[in-house]
Amino acid sequence: MGASTITEAEIWEALREVPDPEIPTINVVDLGIIRRVTVGDPIRVEMMPTFTGCPAIDMMRQDIEARLSAFGPVEVVVVYDEAWTSDRITAAGREMLRAADLAPPPHGAIRLTPVPVTPVACPYCGSTDTQIENLFGPTPCRSIFYCRACRQPFEQFKAV
């Protein structure tokens, strides 16, 4: 397939098939980490990391290159000049996080307060009778909560 016959929409569609390596229910497009796609030789994809210390950055770059290699040469550029924020996760993406039993992040910039202002709904039972256990979690992008209603610990994708 020559570069002239590929459309940008096709590339975006293909990127929707690239899952996040840590949370495979969500793809890189709905996670909001793809900033720009430029069809050309090579095909150029700009990727914004969720957290600067995320160890999955290189893996995601390789997964994107592998998926798009059928279209021709690919260059994935990791960009840091603009901050990814959790508001870039699409509405569909928020549902995909729930499918992984993760509470989606609240909308809007975080505020410096001892406890999160917005009540976080438990992804298992929906109750907002929850408490934060740890601002940090098993990956840089997650916090740990406890649901008092169903007595289940759960994780939230951080607002950032």
């Binding site: 600067t52 210390g53 901050a83 256990e133």
Partner: protein
């Protein structure tokens, strides 16, 4: 950018990156031995964030200095690291293969150093967020969002230790006094900061951040009733001790030799390895 400005900015960014790398490295030593399992998770995450920030600053510095980030992080000689000396000391018990891990560990010192450093780093990144060098301004905006979690974590532990009866509070007070000269050493300028301010790359010199930091720390001490080790007089701040300077010039203490040796061991054995 003129050559002298490029090299001053590269040198300044190494200072920032080295601070983040060295604190990240030392805090990662709590993984598995923090006093609570939640803090194993938290300190590991804090350390991972800082090392990620260091990597980003090294990438920016590498562009300016025509080097590469891995070399800057792990390939320089020990006298070419510019972190403040307060960040290089160990807060964990030293591992002993015989199983006798005794002495030297101090969680309160780890908590105090991290929180008081983060208060400093918040002021420093604020001085970079509107830098005329767009890649730096963009990167710092990202870093500042992540740092909100660090500050929140630090403030919670500061209150928790100070409001506990007995040993926890005594250790926090002791840590503040022991760290004090070293913390003041954070405010030593890197060479060329005047030029960077004149060029709009940096809004304030590192030394100009000190008074705002002292006020913040004083407020956090007052909030929990801990004695603050400086006094404000009509003539300005009165501080009884001399800052532990030299780090920004590449002069370090005995803890650095051990840390440098350990941190660069793999790189020296296998220079082509990538992280």
């Amino acid at each position: 950018m003129r050559a002298e400005v490029t090299s001053a900015l590269g040198r300044y960014l190494l200072t920032v990156a080295d601070d983040e790398l060295i604190l990240g490295y030392r805090d990662s030593e709590w993984t598995g031995i923090a006093p609570l399992v939640e803090e194993d998770v938290a300190f590991s995450s804090l350390a991972q964030d800082e090392i990620g920030h260091a990597r980003l600053y090294y990438m920016l510095a590498a562009d300016l200095l025509e080097s590469d980030a891995d070399h800057l992080a792990l390939g320089r000689g020990p006298d070419d690291y510019y972190h403040a000396t307060v960040l290089e000391t160990r807060t964990t018990p030293k591992y002993d293969a015989s199983g006798a891990h005794r002495g030297g560990g101090d969680w309160a010192r780890a908590v105090a150093r991290r929180f008081l450093y983060d208060l400093f780093d918040d002021l420093r990144t604020d001085a970079l967020v509107s830098s005329s060098y767009a890649p730096l301004a963009g990167a710092v905006q990202k870093i500042r969002r992540e740092e909100q979690y660090h500050l929140r974590h630090g403030a919670a532990w500061w209150r928790a230790l100070a409001s506990a009866e007995g040993e926890a509070r005594e250790r926090l007070e002791g840590a503040l006094l022991a760290l004090w000269p070293g913390l003041l050493g954070l405010f030593e300028d890197a060479p060329g900061e005047d030029l960077l301010v004149a060029e709009g790359l940096l809004s304030r010199r590192t030394s100009d951040l000190r008074d705002a930091w002292l006020e913040r720390v004083q407020d956090h001490c007052a909030a929990v009733g801990i004695r603050f080790p400086a006094e404000r007089t009509a003539a300005g701040w009165s501080i009884a001790v001399s800052p532990e300077a030299g780090g920004r010039q590449g002069r370090h203490g005995p803890a650095w030799a051990e840390l440098y040796d350990e941190m660069t061991m793999v790189r020296r054995l296998e220079p082509e390895a990538v992280w």
